[in-house]
Assembly symmetry: C3
Homo-oligomer: 466 residues x 3
């Protein structure tokens, strides 16, 4: 199923160069500086439940595609908020998935799944209705063995370090348990404060109150609230965090005077803030986070431009993160200006930008990152974590920002078994891109080898201080 | 002139695969679910007038290019609204066209024309000033023969079904004549209500009045007006219609309360509606049409984002549809939300989206269609009905929406002799795209054959219920 | 270092065609209709100072990249406005540049520099820290010889004509000196009135006053101000100018009544104009310039969409044009409408449009230029003067606007030694693009040869009336 030359250019001379570049990076350890694996897996090291629970139910790439073709989410086992009936037989869910596997033709999900099926479970035929049951049995049996426990997979995947993402309200118990266990695997956290920074986040006010409880700061007071962030960031750092992450609707930043920010915070807490006020508060908080990063050295990531929960009926039934977030046009040049005016020239700040709006690559992101010392470009994100997405990213940014204002790959996933596949795709596509430069003589082959290693390994470690 | 491998990748292994994929779809019947051929042709089956009337005068792709290089539309035989003098000698028009044929180098028009000249008329040399007269004579002679009558061409083109597009005010006499004639060719209509839905349409108020006359409903009353639509849609269905089509400036939709909609309708009819009111009315009418589609099963198409009649001086002289419509930025994520909130999860509604703003492909359209069961993506439209346009469409949408949220090809043309060429280009480009997936092992070759047939034939029939 | 097949496709048949197309254009004279070389070079014909002064200090592509990676502009020898200390040793600057040369991997700067080093100085090894001193010495020695004086290079570069860009306030002394010198090199000026047209330009009011002094017109009066433009344009024409150039934040145009324009001019001169008023004034001035072009035949260029001086701290320290201009979203369809309404159908006006927003290529620019007789598309500009940028330009515009609504290449540079490299890149990429059309049979090979020559030479001469 897996061709050794997959994702490489077809022309024989080019393919040979791509192979050679890939040889040099294939076996490098995985550095995963941003993602959503559950630290409990590594803390408890329990077996994964079953094939459906591992591959289908948690993967929004999978169920959004099936949903778009008329499959009900209930029939894929997604939990309803009202406790209503949903499919509970994992084998039936798996069969449904296998029956619709053809929908993923030409998509990255197909590449990831095929890779996992073959490399992890030795299953080398294409999944389909005909082999669904046999595949279920094979995977299920494997998952019951010691070799498929989370820590064993972590080691087998050759992960040098992986970052999870937690809310400031998270007590990081799993991270503590990992540390206390003496296991050598390096799992670090990252500070994602949306729950206490975004007034539109469910339970915002209560979150801020709890934030105070956890930190012992008066978080209903602007100074206490900021202090709580500082304290909590330090706590996260003590569990290995080297970065923060911010998932805002836009990339807006603001630079309010202290008393303005304080008044805004009061309005936002009072719960009657306008849409503009909420946006302004998020904007101001990016500035505060940048200021704190200048102090504590945490690398800052902004993931803007997702319209969360676009489908109200799904949201009401299944809640957030169930496959109906939609990208929106995203401006950076105007939005980031307040922050860049203050911190853009700080070579000691690292601000990594992501986008769901590919039009920004050549028009905004590459020119900004090709100038401001504080800025770096994150890899193609979400819908663009794919062959074409990565090719476009390199083609649209390299000529202006070069390679060294980018930061290597993020798998950004909660689908643990897909992690090697995702890094493998990224390495292959970067090798294919570099090959294109080599074969039409825009880059020497010896340099391409160096860059391939930088993109696969070194840049991620350097940018994320890992 | 026509190379058998045209539009295929050059690398020998890839070309071989492309050929083999194309073999499997080349001779499939043409399904043309959306277009602008004149049903009168098939009703009356009269000979086409002459080469200029067939190829040049009705083709806005052709005269807009010549106009951009300083050729007057009068000299191409376009009728002036004021009855002013224009070229009436079709041979002179044809010569002018031949003289400027070099302007079409690298454009789809060139591909279409070459295809028609060679396959229909056996003319295998490139058109130019040197052979213009000989070509004119050859084509003119052929057009006078029975083999070049509309029905004969329809059969020669292997058209399984073709949809025309009519206004609700159209009595569908030609469609009736076709049906009554006993001819086996399948020509269906489609419901395009812009003339009675768009307050900016010329003669809107009078159109609505006439709409009442035709249907016997009180169309100056909101309920009567909606009833007239229901009735007329049923009438169109009785002439084979399976779809509606909506050509609005934007994709805006709205969900007004009944009394708000009623009041808006009154303002719009009164003729003093503001620009916003007119836009809101079109938006509300998309919602009403979707609601009716849920009832009567008509597939809904939205073709938004064309700034019609951008050139006021041309508009004054020659009227609408004379080659000066210009694309505009088009939002879908916000614009469609009211409609999707109500009907997006209806798996029995089919809403096909088109765009003239390619930035929407990867950012908005693929993510929306990759989630909402009601949505499908129409093929590349108008300026993008081309090799590069189709390649970009697939590259930008497949990874997120897959193949099965797209609907095959539309020729969307009034240029009847170009229909086989257009479908041939689409089939070739899809085969070329699939080849790219096969040669770098993103798709197995056996699957590519299945997908090629789906894209060339099955998806159009399924999506349009034909 | 320079491969003879660089930028050509790798597939052997394709490469052969590309070579053959390139053979036909490689040695054509350079026509440089828009750029920023200093006419004083050609007037005085003095030796260039040293390698750093020639290659590093004036090249914003170079120092913006180094700055983005933490190199201070002071350390690259950029002059501080406050007279503060900066590096003055050109050898140290050169070493710093060589040490960071790896940052340019995959960028056009690398192509240009390698080309200049090898073809001008015979330096065939990749620049790096190891050979920095030797390269410095070799270049420095060459610059002291007669063969490297500006006029000698001009002739060696085979420049048929080059346009510089001057403000209306420039007395054109260097141009006069060139003319008086009897030297045969053709150096013409171009009229770039931003300094007296853009109310946000530093010293605008004083500039307008000076404009009056130079022309003897009462430029504080609207009619006198317009008259001064007319007069000055004629003066520029007498020094060979065939074009004007306009670098506005947007492409906005306006068509005010005379008394409105007059009142606006007064507000703008008074210095208390609003942001909107300033934008409106620039918009109106594009209209006035177009009207004058209809009279005096000067070709009009619009370079919109750059957010100048995005980094206030750099601007305060080093002033304008120091590598921190950032592209912005740019609308053309709405913005140009007033101008097109009046002059779009004038086949005797030539208005050349540029963009820093590539999304406009297929959505706005190609459709506009593919219709309006007055419009032509300028080549890829600034960040997009690159392999990928040029490929995207052709792929996104040709199918709608063809080749003959484009105008050939602009080097648009103040980096004199890079001019042959830039034209060579453009010729190679156009040949590569044409090859792509030939090998999949969208264009016949004999036609591709004609088009290659048109793009490399003829179209620039024709569009710019050179």
């Amino acid at each position: 199923m897996l061709h050794p030359d997959r994702l490489f250019p077809v022309e024989p001379r080019a393919r040979k160069i791509a192979r050679s570049l890939y040889e040099g990076v294939r076996d490098l350890p995985i550095v995963s500086p941003h993602g959503h694996t559950d630290p409990r897996w590594f803390a408890e090291n329990a077996a994964f439940d079953n094939p459906a629970a591992l591959f289908v139910i948690p993967d929004h790439y999978i169920y959004r595609m099936l949903y778009s073709q008329g499959v009900r989410l209930e029939d894929l086992g997604l939990r309803r908020l009202d406790g209503g009936e949903v499919e509970t037989d994992p084998r039936k869910i798996w069969r449904r998935f296998a029956q619709h596997y053809y929908l993923f033709r030409g998509t990255p999900t197909r590449l990831w799944l095929d890779h996992a099926l073959e490399t992890l479970f030795g299953l080398t035929e294409r999944l389909g209705p005909g082999n669904a049951d046999a595949y279920y049995d094979a995977i299920d049996a494997a998952l019951k063995t010691a070799a498929f426990r989370p820590r064993a997979l972590f080691e087998r995947f050759n992960i040098e370090v992986i970052a999870t993402t937690e809310s400031p309200l998270d007590p990081l118990k799993s991270h503590k348990a990992i540390r206390d266990s003496g296991w050598a695997g390096r799992v670090v956290t990252a500070y994602r404060p949306d729950a206490v920074v975004d007034p539109d986040f469910a339970g915002f006010r209560e979150n801020v109150r709890q934030f105070g409880e956890i930190t012992g700061e008066d978080t209903l007071n602007w100074r206490g609230y900021l202090e709580a962030h500082r304290q909590r960031r330090a706590f996260f750092k003590s569990f290995g965090a080297t970065s923060t992450d911010h998932g805002h609707p836009s990339a807006a930043t603001a630079d309010l005077l202290a008393h303005e920010a304080e008044a805004l915070f009061r309005r936002v807490l009072a719960g009657d803030a306008s849409t503009q006020d909420k946006e302004l508060f998020r904007a101001q908080m990016l500035m505060e986070m940048a200021a704190m990063s200048c102090d504590d050295g945490l690398v800052m990531q902004i993931h803007p431009g997702s319209w969360r929960n676009h489908n109200p009926s799904l949201f009401a039934t299944f809640g957030r993160d169930t496959g109906h977030d939609i990208p929106t046009r995203t401006d950076y040049v105007q939005a980031l200006k307040p922050l860049l005016d203050r911190f853009g020239n700080h070579a000691d700040l690292t601000l990594i930008l992501f986008t769901l709006d590919e039009t920004a690559y050549s028009r905004e992101l590459a020119p900004l990152a090709g100038h401001y010392p504080a800025l770096r470009l994150g890899p193609p994100w979400w819908f663009f974590d794919s062959y074409e997405g990565m090719m476009r990213f390199r083609e649209l940014t390299t000529e202006t920002a070069g390679f060294y204002n980018t930061v290597g790959f993020n798998d950004d996933t909660r689908a643990f078994p897909s992690i090697p596949a995702r890094h493998d795709v990224a390495r292959r596509v970067d090798c294919a891109y570099l090959t294109n430069l080599v074969v039409n003589h825009r880059l020497d082959e010896d340099e391409a080898h160096v860059v391939a290693r930088d993109l696969a390994y070194r840049l991620a470690k350097r940018a994320y201080k890992l």
